[in-house]
Amino acid sequence: MNLGDDLYKEIILDNYKAKKYRRRMDDADISREGANPSCGDDIELFVRLNGDRIEEVTYDGAGCSICLASANMLCTALTGRTLGEARALFDQVRSMLTDADVPDFPEYAADLEAMQGVKAFPVRVKCAMLAWSTLKQVVDEHSLSAG
């Protein structure tokens, strides 16, 4: 095992292979595409809301394992959470992937720590961030239109 192989930890591979949240949602309140044109990752996020709360969130699309695993972790963590919690988690993920420190994730999002190895591979940070950046846009837009 070495640096690269090491990145592909069980947790990442499990999340990549899990298809639980990988599906389109017909009754989504908001859906949004996100893409990294330079590497071909291309996903769509579907969100159903109940007031301020994310009732359900799913994704579909194509991407590398890092990208899809990250999307799956997002759905796992945020189902049932508030938009405020989503925003806070976005900040934590971003700081993990760009700053020095690994944040103290809430328990429901503990799996995300497995992503910290991505930081060592700058070109892959975009892959890990894609679902999260897309979610951030959804949240920002919703707050704007709602508020």
């Binding site: 070495n2 640096l3 690269g4 192989d5 592909y8 291309d42 394992s65 892959r124 892959c127």
Partner: protein
């Protein structure tokens, strides 16, 4: 595929000329399989650039002192060498640019926008690198010309030879075609295309980025009108490349970039322009790059272009042979390597190319993963991307073996 035959290149000796090859990557022996993106540089090219900077470091043209004169001579010699490399009829048919992309854009601006009329046709292919397709989309938009595509064989193994001729119409004015696909190494029948084009009064621009210095190229024998290529892909420095153009066409075109050195006389309100090749070389050129490029021409010709082509084909045959026994690798491009250069594109099961590339990286194997600036071809294949291993004179079987060992690691992790 081909029987083991003695390689005509002394690859292990050649490898000592390339400083990077003595380095480890991720703690492993470097298997550099990304020459299609850019080639490694031999010492002689780096020395030539360095000698210019350390011993002359002067601007060219109009310098009345020794160092400037000598720099000018070296710069001019580089042009002559480039002309010799592709057998141009005259050195003034060689224009120095930043690279293939600028060369094609030059033709787009100075020939395309000047001569194309609404309804005229630009004939190209889905094998093209974005440089040779987006330029023409914009020229079409600006002039009202129409983009047409050569029909392909199934699985995009090549242009359909049966439909080569019918792809032309009486409105075809230019064929913009790759000399070698950077995704599959496929080499279109340039000589035949030029014949068909010239019968109809159309001109032929060849994107030679992958072809130049991987095989002998003779613009007069091919009878092509424009050839674009980049030094950095053929042992030369970054930031320099060539547009070869037939003299009569270059003469008829408008200048592209305006400024110093491309003028004859300048008044406040108007100017007259210099002769070829200066007409197309505004501003201080990449002097060190041109000089390094001249050294690269010497180097590859010293190695021998026939031998390089044979060597790369041997490696491709070896790759394909190693692939044949397995069901986890999908290969793109035909298995007949007569019309293919040293590029091996594949997907590994349903693992994303980035994951493949990244695991290979951790094993010291440098490949490219993605759409290779060829999204239209990816759509033909129906994939988001591929993993690409591409070869050059210094590539050896251990590099290929490292690739396949790395793929075993991918299998272990993902399957």
């Amino acid at each position: 595929m081909s029987p083991a035959r003695t390689l005509p290149l002394d690859v292990s000796k050649l490898r000592t000329e390339f400083p990077v090859l003595s380095r480890a990557m991720r703690g492993k022996r470097l298997a550099y399989l990304d020459s299609g993106a850019t080639s490694l540089k031999p010492r002689s090219v780096l020395e030539a650039e360095r000698a210019y900077y350390e011993q002359l470091s002067s601007n060219i043209h109009r310098g009345v002192y020794e160092f400037s004169e000598r720099a000018t001579i070296l710069y001019d010699e580089a042009r002559t060498k480039a002309a010799g490399l592709i057998n141009a009829a005259a050195a003034r048919e060689v224009i120095f640019t930043r690279g293939t992309t600028e060369s094609i854009n030059l033709v787009g601006y100075s020939w395309g926008r000047k001569f194309l009329k609404p309804g005229d046709e630009i004939l190209t292919s889905e094998f093209e690198h974005h440089s040779n397709i987006v330029v023409w989309q914009e020229v079409a938009k600006a002039t009202g010309a129409v983009l047409r595509f050569f029909p392909l064989l199934p699985h995009a193994e090549g242009l359909d030879p049966e439909q080569l001729e019918t792809a032309f119409s009486e409105r075809t004015r230019i064929v913009a075609i790759t000399g070698m696909s950077n995704v599959t190494g496929y080499k279109p029948p340039l000589r035949r295309i030029a014949e068909l084009a010239h019968e109809r009064g159309a001109v032929v621009l060849v994107d030679g980025a992958q072809m130049a210095c991987h095989e002998p190229v003779d613009v007069q024998a091919l009878d092509i009108d424009f050839l674009a290529f980049s030094a950095h892909k053929m042992c030369g420095p970054t930031g320099i490349g060539v547009l070869y153009g037939r003299e009569s066409l270059l003469e008829a075109m408008d200048p592209f970039l305006y400024g110093g050195d491309m003028i004859e006389r300048v008044w406040k309100d108007r100017s007259t322009y210099a002769q070829l090749p200066e007409k197309f070389e505004a501003g201080t050129p990449h002097i060190a790059g041109a000089i390094g490029f001249g050294a690269a021409c010497d180097f590859v010709q010293g190695v021998g272009l026939e031998a390089i082509a044979a060597h790369e084909r041997e490696l491709l045959d070896y790759c394909l042979a190693r692939t044949r026994a397995r069901d986890d690798i999908t290969v793109y491009g035909g298995i007949n390597t007569d019309d293919r250069g040293g590029i091996f594109s594949f997907n590994f099961a349903d693992v994303h190319a980035h994951d493949v590339g990244m695991i290979l990286d951790s094993h010291g194997v440098a490949v490219r993963a993605g759409f290779h600036c060829a999204q239209p071809l990816m759509r033909v294949f129906g994939v988001a991307g591929t993993t690409r291993a591409s070869f050059y004179m210094y590539t050896d079987r251990s590099d290929i073996d490292a690739l396949f060992d790395g793929l075993d690691a991918v299998r272990k992790i993902f399957l």
